[in-house]
């Protein structure tokens, strides 16, 4: 019996130890795995326009896309090393930063506008923020929507007067249709069906105007970034092309994104809404990635730690280390 116990414990220890020595292979990268959101964004457009595949074909690398509902699961996949890039809301990026995931923020896909917002049901009697008191409001926790909602509630002194429900975007639509909730802060495409019998109380565009910026960002896994800095710049260059075109002639980009997501042109257009696709030049010239955005992440981190959703507020230095702006700086004038 004692022998068996000994053997078992050895096995346990061995398993524990072998699990930790992460296999660092020096093999050449042959595949890049990109975690994407199910939205018509720059990744969707440059995928449809073959920018991404052309680039990686040239490098003899296969591209694999993996869909995530939000950055929550993308973060888990980054930890386990199952993906190399992930697009997510900046709040999930703050979570990644404070939980010390080995990853860097390299790109801002879009600054959110009216593609995220707080919808209330028509005829529910909610006309102003004060009417929200006592209501059930749904939002996907840890998302940019959640953060924007909390900021709004705090501003109107409603933080402890409403009950917040954590739901995935599809569940929000189901609960809305059943009449379980009369308010929700969420993003497109789930907003469209809800706006049929509801209206916006506030959108992330309003918050943006009040200098509370939320954005979708791209993180790269640390191991991948250190090994393949060239591929990181390469991918960002392709995404930047979509951003440049979006500002020159949005029709091409929106059409491409709509095709990729199986949407009509008008659907894609309304889902993109007033979100801003900054070019690398704009990010550099307006000091967006070096000053404005880090400041916003700092505010976000501070707020999230006050809400005890993360265990400490990231310092400015931590944030600056987390944002690898050299890639965007390199692209600069492209």
């Amino acid at each position: 019996m004692k022998k068996i116990v000994k053997l078992l414990t050895l096995l346990v220890v061995f398993l524990l130890l072998s699990g930790c020595t992460s296999s660092t292979n020096d093999k050449k990268t042959t595949e890049v795995r990109i975690g994407i959101l199910q939205v018509p964004n720059d990744v969707a457009a440059s995928r449809q326009l073959k920018y991404i595949s052309n680039y990686f074909d040239q490098e003899h690398i296969k591209v694999k896309y993996i869909i995530f509902d939000s950055g929550v699961d993308a973060n888990k996949a980054l930890i386990s090393g199952d993906i190399d890039f992930a697009t997510m809301g900046d709040t999930n990026a703050v979570v990644a930063l404070t939980s010390k995931i080995d990853a860097k923020l390299v790109w801002v896909n879009d600054v959110l506008g009216n593609n995220e917002g707080l919808v209330v049901r028509n005829g529910s009697g909610i006309k102003d923020f004060d009417d929200l008191a006592g209501q059930k409001i749904a939002t996907p926790f840890a998302s940019t929507s959640h953060y924007s909602l909390m900021m709004t509630l705090k501003k109107h002194h409603l933080l402890n007067k409403v009950s917040l429900l954590d739901m995935d975007t599809q569940d929000i639509v189901a609960a809305w249709n059943r009449g379980d909730i009369s308010a929700a802060y969420t993003w497109q495409p789930t907003l469209t069906p809800m706006l049929k019998n509801g209206h916006f109380l506030i959108t992330s565009e309003n918050l943006r105007d009040q200098n509370r910026i939320t954005a979708n960002v791209t993180l790269v896994r640390g191991g991948f970034e250190r090994k393949n800095p060239k591929l990181v710049s390469g991918l960002l260059q392709q995404l930047n092309k979509a951003h440049i075109e979006m500002q020159k002639d949005p029709n091409i980009t929106i059409k491409a994104a709509s095709k990729q997501m199986d949407l009509s042109y008008s659907e894609a257009k309304s889902q993109i809404g007033t979100s801003k696709w900054l070019t690398s030049k704009q990010m550099v010239d307006d000091k967006f990635l070096s000053e404005t955005f880090p400041e916003q992440l700092y505010i976000t981190g501070k707020f999230m730690s006050q809400q005890q959703t993360i265990d400490h507020a990231p310092s400015k230095k931590e944030i600056n280390d987390f944002i690898a702006d050299k890639y965007v700086n390199e692209l600069g004038d492209d």
């Binding site: 524990l16 939980s99 429900l165 005890q308």
Partner: protein, 258 residues
């Protein structure tokens, strides 16, 4: 598990736990594993203290715990008061058995999560759907135990009672029910176990408190220390619940196994 077990075996159990603990301690203090995958024991303990003091998401830890227990126990209570009568009657009356048994056999093996989304559509996101989910998980074990309990009553007992002039009602309450009681208790213990394993799933959708919800919420913010605290609480509670049930069983059906 056996009360006749020798001291030796207890020592082995304790030694196993000690070894797990030591391996955990070594793995974390030498930083062999990133903290996000495996937080250190100290961190888990300090998180537990912090949660007990300040609560999670503004709600005290004991309230999270109580709401989870309330969901669990109300579901088990409902299952007991419905499954025992139905099971006993099914065991006695063939017509009732033919009606209900196939339905229950059909629902029993389905993983509760598979029909949870439908339950939510039917009864909404409130407490009802959670309790109903746990109830469905707890129902079948009690029901099946009752049937097998009734079937195992020796015919001699029933016949002797009848020959002494007992009415069928008296036979049921004074012969069949007590004889089936040990089986019923086994059924209840299994039912609590089944409902317990479903509790995290029940709190996955649109809950705002509960230990299961706390674990899921913490996973969204990658707080592995909170997840560990939640998991350890659930583990210990599960063992304690089972021991309590065993104790009650020994008190009520003291003749069983003699």
């Amino acid at each position: 598990m056996n009360s006749k077990g020798k001291k030796n075996y207890w020592l082995i159990t304790i030694a196993t736990w000690l070894l797990i603990f030591v391996a955990w301690q070594i793995a974390t203090s030498f930083r062999m594993v990133p903290e996000i995958l495996l937080p250190s024991p100290e961190k888990v303990v300090s998180t537990f203290v912090k949660l007990s003091e300040y609560g999670y998401n503004g709600i005290p830890l004991w309230q999270h715990f109580l709401i989870t227990m309330a969901r669990l126990l109300s579901a088990v209570f409902l299952a007991i008061v419905t499954a025992i009568p139905l099971g006993l009657i099914s065991g006695r009356i063939k017509i009732v058995y033919s009606i209900f048994d196939s339905i229950i056999q059909f629902i029993r093996p389905i993983p509760p999560l598979a029909y949870y989304t439908i339950l939510i559509l039917w009864v909404g996101i409130g407490e009802t759907s959670k309790v109903v989910l746990l109830y469905l998980a707890a129902f079948a074990p009690i029901y099946l135990a009752c049937i097998s309990g009734v079937n195992r009553v020796k015919d001699d007992y029933i016949k002797s009672a009848e020959s002494l002039g007992a009415s069928s009602k008296q036979v049921f309450f004074h012969v069949i029910f007590p004889s089936a009681l040990p089986d019923i208790f086994t059924g209840i213990r299994t039912a609590v176990g089944m409902a317990y394993t479903t509790v995290v799933a029940a709190e996955m959708v649109a809950a705002t408190y509960g230990i299961g919800w706390m674990i899921i919420n913490a996973s969204k913010y990658l707080k592995s220390d909170v997840m560990f605290v939640g998991i350890i609480i659930l583990g210990i509670t599960g063992v304690v619940l089972d021991q309590i049930l065993k104790y009650i069983e020994r008190k009520i059906v003291f003749w069983s196994g003699r």
